[in-house]
Symmetry: C2
Subunit: 553 residues, 2 copies
């Protein structure tokens, strides 16, 4: 391992040097101090040498030595994902279970060799894309029944291998990050157009195994819809599905891979359906008196068969904090795009529908003028929201040391339940935030995606806790959030995945017989249960200690 | 069992009294005789008393006696599906393995009791909707390791139980046939709009477990897309998924149910997404010089994001035989529909695209005039094709005794392979039809559904064989068709299911490790392997004798 490259942060989002600059941090500090009426202070970001790591318990075979490392910085980078409790623990300098070895395979043959080694060594194998999991999905906390843990980082398997221009599809290696694969598709005139918030710091493989939610607010909401075939290395060998545009031959093999979160094997590549680059766009910000009025409009839009690419709805507080409103109204960001045809007819009808539901909007010209003359999809309320969206993950490493406890969680429910779901969750969160922190907290909601039969609401909360008690505070709040989401009829996750943090809810939401079937399926391809233990379900015969309770370390 | 109702045919499609009348049969006979230059004659349809059945090997417990029967007619009706070899065997008066008992549960509790009885009796349980399988999917030929077979017919569980008008969804019992569920939805102003060719003679449960293909040629091609949640009775208990518009929590449980073909349990009900009844429609027939020219236009349409409801493409011979053309050109049936908005903008752009690809069409007025003034979606080439489509399954019971061997098979492949796939399959079929029957046969193609990355081609073949050799002839042809579909990169079935007849291809197409995972999942919910043995995969530890070869009885 001699190659030098950009260093990744182990205490926060992205690479060293990325994030809020000093001025931005100071402005944030003053804003929070004013808001909470308390000075904002806390420990600096940890230095690697402040965190002692236990000695690696595994020794790679000679054939794998050139692609493995036990470098402390790398072990820290790969010790956690990037969730709130992950950042808390890092700032507390607590890393009791780092991976013993990190591997960077360059070929599928090396992935196979790595799993063979892990299996024979009695070690756990943790598939790793870019490590931006916010649910404990890449953590090598696997318990004592494993002789060690090997994190397999796919960053070197990042190529677009083949482009089929006729079928508009590409074969892409699983380790390709968003910008990497888009850059390789661009010369062909194509785009995957899958833009999760983590776009820059997540990979195709990660998107597929976590059923990532992407760019399109309706119709093609999850990466699932763009998967044409998959290729996965399991401990028992390679499982490759046939490239097909559609099939009815038995239960879909790809649908077992989608959402498998690394417990079946390591995805090495996939054939993905592509899009032409959009040439026609229309975008408009629409105001509503209330979240519920906006929700009724979203429902009408989804049931009309218009399929807007963007149909995000932000409640008043969320819109205000994104700079997309003055805090008096809910805001819908409505957009159509096409590479084939002008979208005027679509937008015209959509605007009729939102008007029928009390939506108010400016003309396209007024909106463009207000945005300073830029194209409407880049400027104004829409542009403000987009910028805030992409910057959001960088805030956590700044606010965690101040004792600010905050996270997001997301779900989906049917329309008939939505009002009760929304109000019930807000009430439960307000209650638990006050109980845990002794002060009122903030809980806001937006829709990230929407379906004819229900929305995907996304909640953000924030309250002032204490840095010392942060993990316990978070755990109590998380448990309340999980319980409220399930009690009010939602799914424990619409697109953040289950990982470790959502297992209690996942086990309530999912039929017990399906969990038994999934565990049996896992055993068929991973007989010794080495793949990503602790995530999603326990391997048969092994308990990793996270079932039914949130991690306590 | 005292209730009297319409008798179902056991030798053909639908109920006694349905099908071609005497005049139609005579016209068909003369047409075939002229075409093949041979008299068309053969045995009459069998009478029940001509077919001796072995004595039932099972005795239902007293508690189930009121919902079970061993009536010979019922045993004949449930002995086969409605495929070509099924009709051949019935006309040959060959029914060596009828079900021992037929059960008609009225409640889910009775379904549970039936599976408990089957499991404890060592009997196979065959879930049965309306029995219109064309792939050997409901056949109680389960081998000698079972002590008998119980066919569980869901016809009495046919209610729409609940309609959620806000989420536009309904809870529907699995035994509801197409017309039954549509009639119950109609007063609410809704429709499922799932119209497979078998619409009248198939059920919601059958559609779901076979991943049925339906009305929409693009976007919502399979029933899969309309399933919100499912409820299935397995030998180990009930597995019910949560009603959700979308989720990213692990691999989708519903996607394991979809395509499971009865090997995991009996679907009892499902929450289904509904449609508003369309108010706006546009439909047009478009001519192309060749199938390949038409295919290029379909590809352009699917990649344009216009989502036509109908986008069927018929090759010249198929269009001619459906009365939709004079046999000189391929015909596309293009249609848009909406309950929300006029579809003119959509149709206008679609017609530009097809014109760019050499498509020729009349104005809407010309087409309506040619159709005799009816609405364009009901008349003309479109209407002719629709009528022929729905009547097609009734022809088989007339032509089988004449020795006409004919069947359909369908697939899907990516666009880059389509030309080779199409030509390769036609060549392989022409070859095998000539080899088997000693004469040239007819093989035609249409697209039933289409995707941005490929079409779903549907083939129909016909040749003059002999009644005596029909089963052997069919088997040889079927094997060649299966092999050609797989060799040229297609799926063994896009929407007819795997059943018994497609297992050889299914086992080639599907990753071995997925088959192992599926078998393990089955064992977790059906430990003794009683559910629909012989279909899809063999239960672990039991061989039913159909793997890798077509059934020989």
């Amino acid at each position: 391992m001699t190659e030098k490259k950009t260093l990744r942060k182990f205490w926060g989002w992205g690479d060293v040097g990325q994030g809020l600059d000093a001025n931005e941090q100071e402005a944030l500090r003053q804003r929070y101090a004013a808001g909470y009426g308390v000075e904002m202070r806390g420990p600096a970001a940890p230095r690697a040498e402040e965190i002692p790591l236990r000695a690696p318990r595994l020794q790679p075979p000679a054939s794998l030595r050139s692609i493995t490392t036990t470098d402390p910085w790398e072990r820290l980078v790969h010790a956690y994902g990037r969730s709130y409790p992950d950042i808390v623990r890092i700032f507390h300098r607590q890393v009791p279970e780092p991976p013993d070895v990190i591997a960077y395979p360059e070929t599928e043959a090396q992935v196979i060799e790595l799993l063979d080694w892990a299996d024979s060594a009695g070690a756990a194998a943790i598939p790793y894309g870019r490590g931006s999991s916010v649910v404990g999905g890449v953590e090598p906390a696997v318990g004592d029944s494993y002789r060690g843990s090997i994190t397999i980082d796919l960053e070197r398997m990042n190529k677009v291998l083949e482009v089929d221009r006729v079928s508009r599809a590409a074969r892409i290696q699983a380790g390709a990050r968003g910008p990497e694969l888009e850059a390789q598709l661009k010369p062909h005139g194509y785009t995957l157009r899958h833009f999760p918030q983590s776009f820059e710091h997540s990979t195709l493989g990660g998107w597929i195994v976590t059923r990532s939610g992407g760019h399109f607010a309706t119709l093609y909401t999850h990466i699932d819809d763009f998967v044409e075939s998959t290729r996965m290395v399991t401990p028992r060998g390679v499982m490759e599905t046939r490239r097909l545009p559609g099939s009815g031959a038995g239960p879909s093999p790809d649908r077992l891979v989608l959402g498998s979160e690394g417990i079946l094997g390591i995805l090495t590549e996939a054939w993905m359906r592509l899009q032409d680059v959009p040439r026609f766009r229309g975008s408009r910000a629409v105001r509503f008196d209330s979240m519920m009025a906006g929700a009724a409009a979203v429902r009408a839009l989804t049931q009309a068969g218009l399929y807007p690419a963007n149909c995000r709805l932000l409640d008043a507080e969320e819109a205000a904090s994104a700079g997309a409103s003055d805090g008096t109204h809910a805001t819908m960001v409505l957009g159509f795009e096409s590479a084939d045809h002008p979208v005027d007819a679509w937008m015209t009808r959509a605007l009729e529908l939102v008007r029928d539901h009390g939506g108010r909007y400016q003309t396209a010209e007024e909106e463009a003028a207000a945005a300073g003359g830029g194209a409407s999809h880049r400027g104004g309320a829409v542009g403000a929201w987009r910028d805030a969206f992409l910057r959001a993950p960088f805030y956590r490493e700044v606010t965690v040391p101040w004792g600010v406890v905050g996270e997001t969680f997301e779900s989906a429910c049917t329309w008939d339940r939505f009002a009760e779901f929304h109000d019930g969750i807000k009430a439960a969160m307000q209650k638990v935030l006050r109980e845990v922190t002794g002060r009122p907290g903030r809980i806001t909601c937006r829709f990230t995606h929407a379906y004819p039969d229900g929305p995907a609401p996304y909640f953000s909360y924030q309250a002032l806790g204490t840095f010392d008690g942060a993990l316990a505070q978070w755990r109590e709040i998380k448990q309340a959030a999980n319980e409220a989401v399930i009690a009010h009829g939602g799914t424990i996750t619409h697109h953040h995945a289950v990982g470790r943090d959502h297992r209690p809810g996942y086990e309530k939401e999912t039929p017990a017989l399906f969990l038994a079937a999934l565990a049996a399926a896992k055993k068929a391809v991973d007989p010794n249960g080495i793949m990503n233990p602790g995530v999603l379900i326990d391997p048969i015969g092994r308990s990793v200690g996270v079932t039914g309770a949130l991690r306590t370390s």
